[in-house]
């Protein structure tokens, strides 16, 4: 990455810093203020959209570490998220624990479940690993519907009351907004730290060539399982927040298709970059909102009137499929790559190189 003229690193810390120039600080602070003051001028719909976006961001950033950085195919992210949601719901309902304890606990429980299937990654690769994570999805859905009703409510799911922290009730969209925004920001910052650490470099080494990584002394088994652990931890936290936001947990909310959407977000944004995960999530969520908004209108003018409300669901599927296929064939490095090119040419303008 090139830097503006006159800005150069003298130490390793400077070289690895996320923010290097004062305009970047100004942008960051302005953006933070914008996000924090959003409830002041954003309507209820915007806040609801942002809440789902923040939660999705956590799950997709976790998936990015697992898939984009460590190179492990994972089709079970939504099952891991579901485990987190059920764990948070059950801990709150049955043990009445405070949320500063249940959210990390949900993360850890989901992470253990994820690492269990990640252990398969120690034995198999590629297609076989994809199959294992699909199996995780089925095991999750089956277990949640069959375990004793007192634990997870079987087909009725879990219903939660609004939670509180330090006497502050999270009972409407705005209060939830601050909860999910702060946790999500923290998790994303953590991900940025993680991928620049020695752990992150080890994960990338395992992804790029696991034999070579083993030769230079990286414990390949450990890092493969660890990548599942971290990815599922993020999913678990996202699931816990989802449970507290929707206040209802049911295994049908966490389907294989949700995992496919998350992977689609990664592909659109760009593999192997936290920024890519964020761009992809925002772009796909906006597209989804767009279709939900214009779906009924398309329905009126189109000749497909026989499907009724199904048009939204089905055209979303077509869109997702198209987006995944087109990006893989024509822009495998995703929008983050495009964004870097734009940034680069802005910096060196008016010169071509």
């Amino acid at each position: 990455m090139t830097l503006p003229a006159g800005v150069y690193a003298e130490t390793y810390d400077q070289d690895q810093a996320l923010i290097r120039t004062w305009p970047q600080w100004i942008c960051l602070i302005c953006f933070m203020v914008l996000l924090l003051s959003l409830p002041l001028y954003g309507g209820g719909k915007v806040i609801g959209f942002m809440n789902v976006l923040w939660i999705t961001l956590i799950a997709v950033v976790g998936l990015q570490i697992n898939v984009g950085y460590a190179g492990q195919v994972n089709l079970g992210q939504s099952a891991f998220m579901g485990v987190g949601a059920y764990a948070a719901g059950a801990l709150t309902l049955h043990f009445d624990l405070p949320i500063w304890l249940t959210i990390p606990a949900a993360g850890v429980i989901a992470a253990l479940f994820g690492a269990l299937f990640g252990l398969a990654a120690v034995r198999v690769k590629g297609f076989y690993l994809a199959l294992t994570t699909i199996a995780a999805q089925y095991v999750f859905a089956f277990a949640m519907l069959k375990l004793p009703k007192k634990w997870f409510g079987q087909i009725q799911g879990l219903r939660l009351d609004p939670v509180s922290l330090l006497g502050f009730q999270f009972d409407d969209d705005v209060s939830i907004y601050y909860l999910v925004a702060s946790i999500s920001t923290l998790m994303i910052y953590g991900a940025w730290g993680l991928v620049r650490s020695s752990t992150g470099r080890a994960l990338v080494a395992v992804r790029d060539n696991d034999k070579a990584a083993a030769i230079i002394g990286i414990n390949v088994f450990y890092y493969k399982a660890l990548s599942f652990f971290i990815g599922a931890f993020y999913a678990g936290v996202a699931g816990a927040l989802w449970a507290y936001y929707i206040r209802y947990v049911l295994s049908e909310m966490f389907t294989l298709w949700l995992s496919v959407w998350y992977l689609g977000m990664l592909i659109v944004g760009g593999m192997g970059s936290i920024l890519g995960a964020i761009i992809g999530t925002v772009v796909i969520r906006l597209l989804q909102e767009f279709i939900t908004y214009f779906g009924p209108w398309i329905n009126q003018i189109s000749f497909f009137s026989s499907i009724g409300g199904g048009i939204i669901f089905s055209s979303m599927n077509m869109l997702l499929g198209c987006v995944i296929i087109l990006f893989i064939i024509f822009e495998p490095r995703g929008l983050a790559h495009r964004w870097n090119i734009i940034k680069e040419s802005y910096r060196i303008w008016p010169f071509p190189h």
């Binding site: 398969a120 690769k125 390949v220 592909i267 199904g310 089905s314 599927n317």
Partner: protein
Amino acid sequence: MISLLSHIINGALIGLLFALVAMGFVIIYRSARVFNFAQGEIVILGAFLFWTFSQYWELPIWLSLILAFCASVVLGLIIERVILRPLVGEELFALVMVTIGLLVFIRGLVLVTWGAEVHFIPPVFSVKGVKVGPLMIDRGLVYGGAFTIFMSILFSWFFNHTRLGLEMTAVAEDHQIALSLGLNVKRSIAMAWAISGALCTLSAIVFVSGKGMTFMAADIGLAALPVALLAGLESIGGLVLAGLLIGVSMGLAEHFLDSVLQGGVGAVFPFFIMIIVLLIRPTGLFGWRTIERI
């Protein structure tokens, strides 16, 4: 006792149907080294095309059958040419994701074109059940089982004894070596997709003939995964045995566990078997090579 017997026989026949769908996977995987997750979607696309030809256009059944087969062969060729040819040599993740993207896309396409309501597929075989002793068995499934066994013998012979089949087997073993020996790798892969498309329509017709179907029937594609994996992803003859094993164990699980767990065991049981196979012997029963581990 009769319930047990009927669970076993029905399970075995459903297992053979899964094996027929799985045969499509295996033929593609053998020559293209692509695992086509969209197989179930291609199956229902074939069934819906058959519905369109026979019910909507009101063509005679035999003509609709021929048209549906032709359409699915063309579909297989188009998918290969448009989507997978540009990705030759790409990393595995791209191949996994592109077929999943295809799955989602076809599912949306089917919903947009045919909608979510139940479509009644005209019976190709007589709908009267086959009576075996005290049991009534679905006639379509019996024919399906016979087709599976016949097809597996046919393709085992084709891949081991004909020039074209041997070429495809050689391509399956190593693309580069096959290329350097002057074999036409592209043609072999295209052939595999065409055969697989036809097999998909065959399993679709066995699966839904004389029944009502919605797009949800596509889940058979995922249900066939464990069969393909247990057989070993490269073995066509092994599919019959794997299908029987999984089907019978599924029937037994339904018989003995459904009362304990309030139903629904049958649908999940193959995936439990799949996890066990993945953990103990990822090459399956008759897989070719030692699987690439680490």
